[in-house]
Subunit: 284 residues, 2 copies
């Protein structure tokens, strides 16, 4: 296992990518905010399986956090991250400073106007503009052939796919499955914020998605009634504070009443200071 | 002189660029809306002088026109354009359809939030979002080494330079001088809209910019007084309707009172249905 290169400058990482590509290598990019877990590692491994050269980025992107959100508190664990990258087949980490990414006077924003509106867009105004902007920058700094994203952030994936299509980015996007803990909780850096009791109760989120799948399989087609049953189940856990539970068109993310084609069940629920999201696609 | 290639599909032009670059050629891009004139030709010639392979794009971009503006009326002259491209050393024209550039459902926009605010941004809301979005797309479809823009559209140049810096586009931007008619009128496709009388009177715009330069050279440093003198001069032409006359910081485009470092004198004036813009940099 070669030593992992850790690069902080834009010109340097761009040169690395171009050299790899000139040598005939196909390059994969996995953008992350660090505090890596098995979910990220699964993306790294898939990229390393499919391509010749894998770059992980580690950057806690300030402009995707709203006022009062957890930018300052967001866990930063570079030593663990380095080990996880190395073990999962990453060749190079790009981890720039905030000043490198957003020098004084920077004022350009990328907005995926329709896709960003529903779901988390309602609770986190500006969040997806921050995501689309930093991903645009990373795609320019690291002109990879393929980029990998995890489907826990389903709406983020849709925002990026739409942006790549609309702006003609010359990159392929791969969306990879959610990785879960043994009790079903979706892996997330924000799980760290959970107390012992919150952590136990947070397993209800996956159970509510499983309930939605079961209800659909037993013939229920009403989005409203399934949402109601999910809400009732989650509300049995006293520490759960629901931001939203939605069932929407899995492609457009638009509202639906009757599940007669693939739908997305998506939720955001707070336990203490952790705002957790999860989702599943319901296929009738 | 080889036959000029005329390409309408995104994949095809991208392949052309990549093949040229793999053959060691440096590629130049000159985005235009067609109805080419000597101003465009000067950009083509500069690109052909400096680089190995020159691509002109011809696309009347609907999203940079506001409601009531001249998108439908904008002159389209493909036969003349082809000849001008060929004579000025263009290798390939990319001229996509509106449907190719904006397929149904496209909803992503690029905004250079600060730079777009003053000057034309006040009179043409959404214009520079349309410009930044289409230029982003063209930079992705045609991954050129250098792109050329004319400084008649000074604020547009600033928007693009700021966007390239903020979003880390791997492209170099060259800003080229204004090309003028013999009486000083800046070349523009919109000069076609002018009647005989309007065309004669429009020469006052360059005269007002020359007046600003003379006043500065004679010791005047007040932006307000110079603007006032420009306004008085332009108002001697009865067909002139002033949108704005501004003197701003030539870098930030922010307001200034005293011209103690390089300033931009910029104006937009309507003659009949032609809205003409022009500018000059005032260096004290």
């Amino acid at each position: 296992m070669a030593d992992l290169a850790w690069i902080t400058e834009k010109d340097e990482i761009r040169d690395v990518v171009r050299r790899a590509q000139r040598a005939g290598k196909r390059v994969g990019l996995v953008p992350t905010m660090g505090n890596l877990h098995e979910g990220h590692a699964s993306l790294f491994r898939q990229a390393a399986d499919e391509l010749d050269f894998v770059i992980a980025t580690i950057f806690v992107n300030p402009i995707q956090f709203g006022p009062g959100e957890d930018f300052a508190a967001y866990p930063r664990t570079p030593d663990d991250d380095r080990r996880i990258c190395q073990e999962a087949g990453v060749d190079v980490v790009f981890s720039p400073s905030v000043e490198t990414m957003y020098p004084k006077g920077a004022c350009t924003r990328v907005q995926v106007v329709e896709t960003e509106k529903p779901l988390c867009g309602m609770n986190r105004p500006g969040h997806f503009v921050g995501v689309a902007t930093v991903v645009t920058k990373l795609f320019h700094i690291i002109p990879a052939d393929v980029a990998y994203f995890g489907s826990k952030d389903y709406q983020q994936c849709k925002v990026i796919v739409q942006m790549v299509r609309d702006l003609d980015f010359p990159i392929e996007i791969r969306i990879c499955p959610i990785v879960r803990e043994s009790d079903g909780l979706a892996m997330s850096s924000r799980n760290r914020y959970l107390s012992h009791d919150e952590r136990k109760q947070a397993a209800i989120l996956k159970k509510s998605l499983d309930l939605a799948t079961e209800l659909l399989q037993s013939g229920e087609r009403s989005a409203k009634r399934i949402r109601q049953r999910m809400r009732e189940l989650i509300s049995t856990e006293p520490l759960a504070n629901i931001d939203y539970i939605e069932i929407v068109d899995s492609e457009s993310l638009g509202p639906i009443d009757v599940i007669d084609h693939p739908a997305l069940a998506a939720l955001a629920v707070r336990f203490g200071r952790a705002r957790l999201i999860d989702n599943t696609v319901l296929v009738p």
